[in-house]
Amino acid sequence: MTAVANNLAIDATGVTKAYGKGENRVVALAGADLRVPYGELVMLVGPSGCGKTTLISILAGLLTRDGGSCSVLGVDPQALRNGPRTTWRGRNVGFVFQQFNLVPTVTAQENVAIPLLIQGTPRAEAMGRAGDMLRKVGLCGRERSLPPQMSGGQQQRVAIARALAPNPRLLVCDEPTSALDGATGQSVMELVARAARENGHAVVVITHDERIFRFANRIVHMDDGRVTRTDEPLKEPA
């Protein structure tokens, strides 16, 4: 039991969350459980509005929960005060967004350097590491390109490089492929899956895209604010 618990990057039980008050109260999570071991890629699927984004926001320390317990990388984010939680998140959690959210007026390399610069890494070092990350995601030679000059797939690669630059132990991706075509989505997912496989990071991917299910170690189904079913590893993930 302890051995298993120690191997868990995420251990969340009975997480509840409601938005608004009175008439406007919306229950987003009604007791959701989620366990993600290090080195695994877990996909979170379910109908729109079932609480997927709410759940990973709580796990990443972006949002507070109403109830339940939560251990992420060995800490309860909610137990941390605001400042330390922000620092903790910057060091330990990487984010990949559906809309990339790259700053359009700075180069790919600078975009990748942003999380390092936020942590106070000296600019030269941050830019050097950002260059290495870009090469790892196959964007050698595009360091000086601005995001609008790049294709969607290239931009999402930059975003992945940015998320992985601080070497976070947890990577969360919300619909990382839904703005991309099928083939591009596959190549982007290969990069994400590699982060789990090669670095032992825990990866949570929210998706509707069945074409990328093959990258998952586990597929967690949600509905109405709860986890309804978990598909255990089909075979070896791609």
Binding site: T53, T86, T87, R89, R91, E110, I118, D174, A179
Partner: protein, 390 residues
């Protein structure tokens, strides 16, 4: 990250230029209108600056400005001279008189009669002739500013359209002041003044002859303090002993400026123009800066998710505001100065004292800080979860 903030600002072409344009336009309007206002107001007291020999101006207590006409008694001169600490005190006549020019045209000029013995109070800059030439018979010195338009002489020639051709008055020309002959012996160069009437200097006693029979003609007494005597202190003593008004030059200038500010709509009109500049700045630049921040909110949100503190984001927004403000201010002040320099100082009253750039900078600061503050509220309130929503 601050470098990134600057790149976000400079990289956002259209919006950045919009912000700059708005701020530049606002600072141009504020600085230029204030400078013209200061220029105009300083013209009201030009005569005081054109008479630098006097430490103290003694006048009737009810006098409103240097151009006001409330004469003193002749005996007042002796009373002023009797105050200890007065090095010298001389009478001055200043009043509007009718002029008849050689070809019969009539106009009005401001005659300044200065002490016969010392010629104190005379023009400070002579373009032609000397102040001492006033000792010649019927002598007057005219100011050059209105020579071409008002005090001009008919050459006797006619242009192709049949109109007379004129030339500016010069030494040796004659005119009539209240039916009495006056001969030009010098041309002086005074500061541009608020009064349109040409200035004509003569001696005090000749001014009395030009003047139709009135009992009181001494407009004011010019006083110099003995060396080492504080003019402000002496002015107080003169006032106490004579019951007259006695002011050092600078307060007298302010009294005159204050009169014009109170009694005319000039400050309100300029105030409106300056306020307009400010509101244009708020409306265009403030609003564009706010839009710029809103547009960047999703990037700030992503940075917040990636571990940026609100404090860091606020510093980024503040820096963007300050940099845009500084460049816009520089452009605006530059344009205002170029405008001031490219204009003929005799025609356009434009005086940019050091206060004006400071006040303009203050106004720009209010605009950018205001816009940044409102933007910052959005940055702080930003729901970090919102970065997941496309």
């Amino acid at each position: 990250m601050l470098r990134i903030a600057i790149k976000m600002l400079f990289g956002d072409g259209a919006r950045f230029y919009g912000i700059l344009l708005g701020l530049a336009f606002a600072s141009l309007l504020i600085a230029q209108q204030s400078s013209i206002f200061v220029g105009l107001m300083s013209r009201t007291s030009a005569f005081i600056r054109d008479t630098p020999q006097a430490d103290i101006w003694v006048t009737d207590p009810d006098l409103l400005s240097v151009d006001d006409a409330k004469a003193l008694r002749d005996t007042d001169l002796q009373r002023v001279r009797g105050v200890p600490g007065v090095a010298w005190a001389v009478p001055l006549f200043k009043g509007l008189l009718g002029v008849k020019l050689g070809d019969g045209r009539r106009t009005v000029c401001e005659v300044v009669g200065i002490d016969d013995a010392t010629l104190i109070g005379g023009p400070h800059t002579m373009l032609d002739g000397q102040v001492a030439d006033l000792r010649q018979a019927d002598a007057v010195i005219v100011d050059n500013r209105r020579l071409a338009r008002e005090l001009r002489m008919d050459t006797g020639e006619r242009g192709p359209d049949g109109r007379p051709i004129y030339r500016p008055m010069r030494i040796g020309d004659e005119m009539e002041l209240n039916e009495r002959r006056a001969v030009v012996v010098g041309i002086c160069d005074n500061n541009e003044s608020f009064q349109y009437a040409p200035q004509v200097y003569t001696t005090y006693s000749r001014a009395l002859q030009f003047q139709p029979a009135v009992r009181r003609v001494m407009s004011m007494v010019l006083v110099r303090a003995e060396p080492g005597k504080d003019p402000t202190e002496l002015a107080r003593q003169i006032q106490a002993r004579t019951g007259l008004s006695a002011l050092p030059a600078s307060p007298f200038e302010w009294k005159t400026i204050g009169f014009w500010m109170r009694e005319t709509g000039i400050p309100i009109n300029f105030g409106i123009a300056i306020a307009l500049g400010f509101f244009v700045g708020v409306a265009i630049a403030g609003q564009m800066f706010y839009n710029f921040t809103l547009e960047n909110l999703k990037y700030f949100g992503a940075m917040k998710a990636m571990g940026a503190s609100s404090w860091l984001l606020l510093r980024m927004v503040a820096l963007q505001g300050v940099v845009a403000g500084a460049i816009g201010l520089g452009l605006g002040l530059g344009l205002a100065s170029a405008f001031g320099l490219s204009n003929n100082p005799d025609r356009l009253a434009f005086v940019m004292t050091w206060h004006i750039p400071v006040i303009t900078a203050g106004a720009v600061l209010v605009i950018v800080v205001g816009a940044s503050l409102i933007s910052m509220i959005r940055v702080i309130r930003l729901d970090p979860k919102s970065v997941f929503e496309g």
